[in-house]
Symmetry: C2
Subunit: 329 residues, 2 copies
């Protein structure tokens, strides 16, 4: 089904931004001299963890629901957590009810917040049940449309508004970065950012960053077709555990992306610690992988100017403590 | 000496903003539906902990040094930590050397960062030595001007640029708040904010928030003259331990402020925890007191719309863990 959808155009991203104007936070592009020193490069962090609901997902969810005509009474979504919160809050802002299918082992913060935004939460077992099928069944029963987490033009265009902002914020600093790094689960964010960066930046290298055992996009870019992760793969980056690239997102990404980089759980925690220490922001593991990749000397970015999107900050205290433990005291 | 200085005018704040344009971060005004629910009011948080060097102090320091003619080769400052970092980084940005007098028990993060920005740090004992005298002696020896932490028109005007931004950011949301809450040590920030809010907002209530045992400004507003805190007073809010209001800042504050509120250490930690949980930002204890006061039912702000300035985020991990411990898991 998704394969039949057309990729959004640059104009669709501009339209998404219009819909989001005054509704989503124009998140800052943060920089710290001490963070740069620790990272070994000039690191400009697009702090999308400061977005409403604590992640970039609010943008795509809002753009998707706001574009539905007629406006539905209810929507359904499936998500490991950040899309869940984004849909719950965007639906509430638009006066629409939401039912969200979530894995039972999602971070407690994400489960509790999704309910607190007013959504009904239905849990499933991440390792034995299909979230897509569960959600599709509920959607059929209730005759409610699904808000797709990544593989849809309106979702992609909403996330793409981040690309527009990155270009404008870099222009204000008279900076053209050597690379833009964006984390990648299903690929909705990075495909949107690639479109949003626009024609003037089409030669700026754009890299997908993934957890080590979830490098499906990196491998897919190399092989030229959509690769799948092993079912037994595990990572603390709960926001990035998609099994394979989306059909639509991969069709966009294979044309625009320069390549993929991978990050270990320890590297993600290390980047969370430095973001706490030098930028005063709370990043979740999946939200920190782009910063982590920028700092990894093996990625060849030492001394370069790098934009890294920090995509979310919805992390439970025990996980955050693990990051704090890495700081010398 | 400070008593002879004239308060800055609104135009001086506009000039400060011009100097800071592209140099300081235009920090976002953050809001979270779940934070509002926890706080019991609509809470708009001016996230100045995302400012360069992790606190608002960069603004006043930069404005002060940038206005010095001729540009000195070196400047001197005394500070418990945030002004130290602000002066160190602002001096470095302007090509000026900096020597900073700091208490030996300042948070390690603040001592280390001040050195990392390139400043020379001279430590003193907070409870037996005078930081003003130590700094004055060094300034005389080196013939270097002192960058005053609060009691100077240029410092006040620099911090006042936050007031301009608050008005513009609230206008964009079509909001006129019921109160603006700003933490208060020497009073440089809140006096500047009072001027920066401008004539259109002169009837918007503006409150100074202080740690319980450091409520010199609250008591001074009541008595009409500058009160002093007890030498044995203690608080975890290391950024707010000034002994008494400044002469110039109090002259401004007694005309503009509505009153003072106080916050316990536990309340400050609670606000840090909620800011972590719902806003994904790192606040230090002193930076969290305005948020804490907004949430305290005894301050009569339930159901109101409140702007709280989160002034800094330079906190050592052990203190941050104390805040995390307050969250249910």
């Amino acid at each position: 089904m998704a394969g039949e959808l057309e990729p959004p155009a640059f104009e669709d991203v501009l339209q998404a931004r219009q819909r989001l104007e005054g509704r989503a936070v124009l998140t800052p592009l943060l920089e710290s001299a001490l963070m740069n020193e620790a990272a070994g490069c000039r690191l400009l962090v697009k702090a999308e963890n400061l977005q409403k609901t604590g992640s970039f997902k609010y943008r795509g969810a809002y753009n998707n629901i706001a574009a539905m005509t007629p406006r539905p009474a209810e929507v359904v979504a499936y998500s490991s957590g950040n899309h869940a919160q984004g849909v719950a809050a965007a639906a509430a802002a638009l006066g629409v009810r939401a039912t969200i299918v979530m894995p039972e082992d999602a971070p407690k913060t994400k489960l509790a917040n999704t309910r607190a935004y007013g959504a009904e939460v239905v849990v499933y077992d991440r390792y034995t049940e299909s979230r897509e099928e569960t959600a599709a069944e509920i959607a059929r029963e209730r005759q409610a449309p699904i808000v797709p987490p990544y593989d849809h033009p309106l979702t992609i265009a909403g996330q793409g508004s981040i690309g527009l902002e990155i270009v404008e914020q870099c222009d204000a600093l008279s900076v053209r970065p050597d690379a833009v790094l964006v984390c990648c689960g299903g690929g909705g964010l990075i495909s949107g950012v690639g479109i949003g960066l626009g024609a003037d930046w089409e030669t700026v290298p754009l890299y997908a960053v993934e957890p080590e055992e979830f490098d499906d996009t990196r491998r897919s870019l190399e092989s030229g077709h959509r690769e799948t992760n092993r079912p037994e793969a595990r990572s603390i980056c709960d926001a990035l555990l998609s099994p394979s690239p989306g059909a639509l997102t991969f069709a966009i990404n294979r044309r625009r992306l320069t390549g993929g980089m991978t990050v270990s759980d320890e590297q993600a925690l290390g980047a969370m610690a430095l973001a706490f220490h030098h930028l005063n922001i709370v990043a979740e593991p999946g939200g920190a992988v782009a910063m982590a990749a920028a700092m990894d000397p093996s990625n060849g970015l030492a001394g370069k100017t790098v934009v890294a999107v920090c995509t979310g900050g919805n992390v439970d205290p025990p996980m955050f403590r693990r990051a704090l433990d890495l700081l010398q005291e």
